[in-house]
């Protein structure tokens, strides 16, 4: 059973489009995260939700909007995609013990 899953794995789209990435975890964790890993492999946090409540909101363009319908799901919606949004996006979840469990990533390519 996959602990943290993301769909789709690859996403190729044109500038200006709107797209969503879905994430689900079956670990029973209360906290979920979205990270962006750019071409230089730097992994940077974007958002975090704890039990459906937004607790971390880094300096991210407001074209990015997370949504947590329940504590097992955290989706990422991106409006008006730009070339600079091309990256790998990782979802993660964590419990009380601070370590985090990452999904397989979604490679977004904006053309």
């Amino acid at each position: 059973d996959t602990a943290v899953s993301q769909t789709p794995k690859y996403l190729v789209t044109q500038m200006g489009n709107d797209k969503s990435i879905k994430c689900e975890q079956n670990l029973g964790h209360d906290t979920m995260y979205w990270y962006k890993q750019d071409s230089k492999k730097f992994l940077k946090i974007m958002f975090s939700y704890n039990n459906k409540e937004l607790i971390i909101n880094e300096t991210v363009p407001n074209r990015f909007s997370p949504k947590s319908p329940d504590k097992a799901h955290l989706n990422l919606h991106i409006n008006s995609l730009e070339l600079g949004d091309s990256a790998v996006y990782f979802c993660a979840s964590g419990g009380q013990t601070y370590e985090q469990y990452f999904g397989p990533g979604t490679r977004l390519t904006v053309t």
């Binding site: 492999k41 730097f42 990782f90 601070y98 990452f102 990533g105």
Partner: protein, 111 residues
């Protein structure tokens, strides 16, 4: 501003030797320091967590040290194997569940 530096971008070692990776940080008072492994095309995988009041932690062939005076962690892989080849990420957190990552060190173990 906070900075996390992993000193080497790449480390090449002979099978059977010990790999030692360094993580230094500035302008940060982490409560926890973590190490993750990332293989190409995959999400990071949690390896070890060490608390600010712990000096050393071990797990199988892995050893982590944490020196809050030097603001440094060392990560050792003993008796290294080709299967240990991967990128290793250092990550720091305070008590707010927010992980800040270093850029990573790519380890290649030669048979």
């Amino acid at each position: 501003s906070q900075k996390i530096e992993q000193n080497s971008e790449a480390l090449n070692i002979q099978e059977g030797k010990t790999a030692t990776l360094t993580c230094n940080y500035t302008n940060y008072s982490p409560a926890y320091l973590q190490w993750y492994r990332q293989d190409p095309g995959r999400g990071p995988v949690f390896l070890l967590l060490i608390r600010e009041n712990e000096k050393e932690k071990r797990k199988e062939r892995l050893k982590v040290t944490f020196d809050t005076t030097l603001k440094q962690s060392l990560f050792h892989i003993t008796a290294s194997q080709p299967a240990d080849s991967a990128t290793y990420l250092c990550a720091l957190t305070s008590n707010d569940y927010k992980l800040s990552f270093g850029a990573g060190t790519t380890v290649t173990v030669r048979a």
